[in-house]
């Protein structure tokens, strides 16, 4: 019968915490004891096996899937990034927006439900529906109401002071945007002005 503490020494060895004296004791015992030698060998082998499977990789699109599940990014950051990418446009647009001075007053005035005019939009109370199977052409803008998209919108979707629901079968070719705060409202105008300015420049370039 082997001394109980030999097994203890094996674990100390495997933890790399054994003292030289104890290591010598262990080695000498293993040389003379077949049984303990087998146990020691089996321990080392099972560790090697476990280590050998440590090469698994995360599934495809893992990062994108996590990012899609995160709470919405703070608008300040989004805006910061956009401003960095379009500094001149942003400055020019902000100037134009503030010059017209109407942005804030329109925000306060426009509390009533309204929707862009496309024939195949269905309106019930304050809910606008893009019916399944229908294709709505052009940008859809809903103010102070809810938009449900079951069909297709060929253009941008903007919901001001409301919510939009995109059914799994629904489809929007352009951007979707919800605007629910004054800050968003100004932001929206800056971008809109910038977009118009860009388009204007592109058009005059094309001529």
């Amino acid at each position: 019968m082997c001394p109980e503490h030999i097994i203890e020494l094996m674990h100390e060895y495997l933890d790399e915490e054994i003292s030289p004296i104890k290591e010598k004791e262990l080695r000498e015992h293993l040389k003379s004891c077949k049984e303990c030698e087998t146990i020691f060998h089996e321990l080392e082998k099972s560790i090697a096996y476990v280590k050998s499977i440590s090469n698994l990789q995360a599934p495809e699109h893992f990062t994108a899937n996590v990012l899609a599940r995160l709470p919405k990014e703070k608008r300040k950051v989004l805006m910061g990034r956009w401003l960095k990418q379009h500094p001149f446009l942003a400055a020019a647009s902000l100037f134009l927006v503030l010059m017209t001075g109407s942005v804030l007053s329109t925000w306060n005035q426009e509390r009533e439900f309204s929707v862009s005019k496309q024939e195949n939009l269905v309106v019930k109370n304050n809910t606008v529906i893009v019916p399944a199977g229908e294709v709505v052409k052009g940008d859809v803008i809903v103010r102070n109401g809810t938009l449900k998209i079951e069909g297709e919108v060929q253009g941008d979707v903007t919901v001001i002071n409301g919510e939009q629901y995109l059914a799994s079968a629904g489809h929007v070719t352009g951007d979707i945007e919800e605007i629910n705060e004054v800050f968003d409202w100004i932001w929206y105008h800056i971008k809109k002005t910038a977009k118009e300015a860009t388009e204007l420049m592109e058009r005059s370039d094309a001529k």
Partner: protein, 187 residues
């Protein structure tokens, strides 16, 4: 490395999700591996690994920036997996069997679709055997063994992740090793 992480964390705290994407890229494999080895099911592992990063993102302000980020992250992942194991309902096993995407089936799918060289087949079989034996360990030995030998972490880090004294971690690793020895000796 740690300096880059610290910089990215500061950006994340400001709300920058792109910076968080970079953090995910760095740790996704080790977090997914930890979850998979704990749970033995690809679908569940992906779920828990995603959840780990989402919790990290949401709670990033409570992370002490003087500590190692990976320790904190592994702690979230380990706790989520242990919770999941404890909550595992019996019907989940049924689902997994019906879905048939785990364990042995990965091997059979591969072997029926593609002719792998003998050697790779053998190593795949071995990997599955080892995974199966790890799953047989009680969860407290399992987590310690995985952190030690698959994530290759020090006893100190493991003790921080599991929030246990080093002595307890050692005992768990010893018992885990002993159990694995008995299970894997004839492989």
């Amino acid at each position: 490395m740690e300096a880059i992480i610290k910089k990215r964390i500061k950006q994340v705290i400001k709300g920058d999700q792109d910076a968080f994407g970079e953090i995910i890229e760095i740790y996704k494999n080790s977090v997914y591996q930890l979850c998979y080895r704990m749970l033995g099911n690809r679908h569940e592992a992906e779920d828990m690994a995603q959840e780990t990063f989402i919790r990290a993102y949401v709670n990033i302000k409570s992370f002490n920036q003087d500590r190692k980020f990976s320790t904190w992250l592994f702690r979230i992942a380990t706790n989520l997996c242990i919770d999941r194991i404890r909550k595992k309902k019996p019907d989940y096993y049924l689902d997994a069997e019906v879905a048939g995407t785990e364990g042995l089936t990965m091997y059979s799918q591969l072997s029926s679709e593609t002719q792998l060289p003998e050697k790779e087949l053998e190593s795949l079989e071995l990997q599955e055997t080892v995974q199966k034996e790890i799953l047989k360990l009680p969860e407290k030995y399992r987590s310690a063994i995985i952190l030690k030998y698959i994530e290759d972490l020090s006893l100190n880090e493991i003790s921080e992740i599991l929030d246990l004294p080093i002595g307890t971690v050692k005992t768990r690793i010893h018992r885990g090793r002993e159990a694995l020895r008995q299970q894997l000796r004839y492989v």
